[in-house]
Symmetry: C2
Subunit: 210 residues, 2 copies
């Protein structure tokens, strides 16, 4: 939902000076999960500009189940599966290669808050099966990659191995200490309950990735 301001602050995301009215340089969107802060911005990209959406089958099913996302006409905004463990060339709505390749991989996470069963607040909503993914992003002609892992519940051996030689990792920074929302009096949930590994501490992401 912050995408409006992000575009306003980022010239690269704005229409070029010589571009048609209501055009956009945004040619594709890759979703790493269905949380509202990851998908609600799609509703601000609804002025009939073509672009492609890439996501896991789980996330695409959630978009499909919420008719409000039909503001993005599938004829203009195709929805494409991001298959796990495969390097995929990201293409625009017309199938032209954007020059960006993405490899996705599941990470320990959680289903989106709004998909939790309200009747079972203490149930375990953790997921390792593709509800939350990380991506390795490579640009055309570049030798290095960027890992982008915005939500991650823990760093297991598989993930540690994957990131061992990474040149750059952008990693879940939702909470610095696991109980900071409780300590600040703004919520009852820990980072762990929300599917987010804390940054600090012996078991935190900074130590694990050091």
């Amino acid at each position: 939902p912050d995408i409006r301001q992000q575009i306003a602050q980022t010239p690269e995301l704005q229409p070029a000076q010589d571009a048609p009215l209501r055009s956009t340089p945004i040619r594709a969107v890759v979703l790493t999960n269905a949380d509202v802060d990851h998908v609600a911005g799609l509703l601000s990209l609804r002025e009939r500009q073509p672009f492609a959406i890439y996501a896991t089958t789980q996330v695409l099913a959630t978009l499909e189940a919420n008719s409000i996302f039909n503001v993005l006409d599938p004829a203009l905004v195709p929805r494409r599966i991001l298959p796990p463990a495969e390097e995929l060339a990201i293409c625009d709505a017309d199938g032209h290669d954007t020059g960006v390749t993405v490899e996705s991989f599941p990470v320990p996470g959680k289903i989106a808050l709004y998909l939790e069963e309200r009747s079972r607040p203490e149930a375990n909503f953790s997921s390792d099966a593709g509800d939350t993914i990380g991506v390795r992003i490579t640009g055309a002609g570049s030798r290095g990659s960027v890992f982008y892992i915005p939500g991650c519940a823990r760093i297991d051996a598989t993930l540690r191995t994957r990131l061992a030689d990474a040149a750059c990792v952008l990693f879940d920074g939702t909470v610095y200490t696991d109980d900071e929302m409780i300590a600040a009096g703004v919520g009852q949930k820990t980072g762990a309950r929300m599917g987010h590994l804390a940054m600090s501490g012996d078991a935190g992401s900074i130590a694990a990735l050091a």
Copy 2:
């Protein structure tokens, strides 16, 4: 989806200086239709602050059918029916009167874009039955009222009579001329197709309300 910026620009919508962290003075939201520009802002009000949502049964059914709106926990954010043709005291989540009363009335309109059947693009999606409403808003202790009619397809005799003695009317200003999007090369739809009466012309809203 612009509500973030609207709050940033409007001190009255921001937490008071002496209010708790993550509080809001927004105590209730009244929806006049289910279009994405009317309901997507709810997704930005999701940080577990209590407030009440008022809408017609049709609009509430659309929220119910889109699980993404479950980010607003019904235990904190009750959803209440706005009955037609009845002056209703708007209350906050706890049932305390906000001092604002609202009378709603159906206006000629259209169902939300994302609820249109894609397979029948030429079907008639107009609606007179509560998919789009207007509201008359009265503040505690004030003698006058404000009419707020953000979407309206035509001004019929019923509406003309209702507004005859109005002190203030805020009326659908989506298009100035019916074909302006086509003329500007930014779309194929007329205002009429989108359920919006043009402002200008002999049949426009300015002439009709003069």
